[in-house]
Symmetry: C2
Subunit: 234 residues, 2 copies
DNA sequence: ACAAAAGTGTTATAGATACACCCATGC
DNA sequence: GCATGGGTGTATCTATAACACTTTTGT
């Protein structure tokens, strides 16, 4: 790739700006991240996050959505939010580039078509990653885990309609520990995050009661637990 | 641009990068923010946040700390953290500049010397502000309020030693509603955030029991309440 | 003694977990 | 009938809010 940094660092104040996304999805009951394998130096063959350069007419969120549209049909992204800036001067070899990192989510029932150099990898068993991209993946994972607790962000990981069992598997995979279906249902219902659709699925081959189907009441991010330790007087 | 496999638009633009901080302090029992008044166009006479251009050799956090040192003795900043990126293409007139915004905190018992064009303003009664700086101030306020609930961030607003009454006034001002001293003390103590120093202050002129002095057990930001709705099995 | 401010004891309430038990289906 | 998975009822636990009451000082 470009340059020997002969003139670049001397060009005072020129700071490149890129956007990168940790796009997460639950696949095979594991939290996985979308990565593509670099074909060129630097960091050849290492895996890196999708993204690219910020263009003139877009803000950072428009930019990451545009760039992801080249990898994944953008309509399949159920949620995008900003994480933070990664700006160590030497985070990339060559010219200086500041990155704005994002968390992106894809529902578990979609399987977006991706280029040949791109694949899903479990977040807890990452391949060798390029630059500081592993840090960004971990930041994305941590943000998701935190928000599962106090927001309705599960809507972005689950299909539109699902059984409580399916939702339990999704939450367990994302959080990294087993959650009980019984309490998951109750907590989310009491908060008004979840509601039954009235429909059910047929029982499985081994029998059993046919599961009811549920949906999220809202598909926009909402804080559902103010978790205010110091609660305003009622 | 190193390391993207996407071909984005031609590089017409030079994207500047600035860092800005909403520096907050409790003064006169109100949450106030440090602003300086612009002397030149654009937005003459409007009030704006301290900050400036990202230099070549620093990351964004080093940069904002350096720039604040020009306004406030940097050692008086008890906490600095990144908020988010503001990147609308037209957020400033003229050349495009992306801003990384920070929250900065100053303890209530310090009164940093500041330039003549700089003053503190209550966050709930801001003067006319420049560009998108009001948004950044509100983001700083909201971040502070959220973290008061589930972290020990109060250490950054309070003096090293304080009475529970003083702390109550600080929390009340920052949160925007009255908190009760009795419960404040208990919640923070049970979490191990607060501890008595063993010393007391003399009673006030009107009498009353002499208050005990307390301190925060740690002066680094720590999450004290995991507020995990889906708690890992014990 | 009395007023004032600080601090403690006690109860109430909310929101979660744990677990036993009942329900509906296929074979 | 019975195994299997789904769903509900109920007890328990934890943490905070509310408030009455006690403590310690100055005048």
């Amino acid at each position: 790739m470009p340059h020997t940094n002969t003139s670049s660092r001397a060009d005072k104040g020129y700071v490149g700006h890129e956007v990168l996304a940790g796009v997460l999805q639950i696949r095979d009951d594991r939290l996985q991240v979308m990565l593509w394998q670099r074909a060129q130096e630097p960091d050849v063959h290492r895996w890196s996050l999708p993204g690219g350069r910020l263009a003139d007419t877009e803000d950072v969120e428009s930019s990451i959505r545009r760039q992801l549209a080249e990898k994944v049909d953008v309509h399949k992204l159920s949620h995008v939010e900003q994480l933070s800036v990664f700006s160590k001067p030497d985070r990339l070899p060559g010219r200086r580039v500041v990155a704005t990192a994002f968390l992106g989510l894809v529902p578990s029932d979609t399987d977006p078509a991706m280029p040949a150099d791109t694949a899903w990898h479990p977040v807890d068993a990452l391949p060798p990653t390029a630059f500081d991209h592993e840090l960004i993946v971990l930041a994305a994972r941590d943000r998701l885990r935190a928000k599962l607790s106090y927001t309705n962000i599960g809507f972005a990981l689950a299909p539109v309609e699902f059984t409580v069992s399916e939702l339990r598997r999704i939450y367990s995979a994302a959080l990294g520990y087993q959650v009980a279906a019984t309490n998951l249902q109750r907590v989310l219902s009491r908060r008004g995050v979840l509601e039954p659709t009235g429909r059910t699925l047929p029982a499985g081959p081994a029998g059993g009661r046919p599961p009811a189907l549920f949906q999220f009441t809202s598909r926009d991010l909402q804080v559902t637990d103010p978790f205010a330790v110091f609660r305003p007087p009622t």
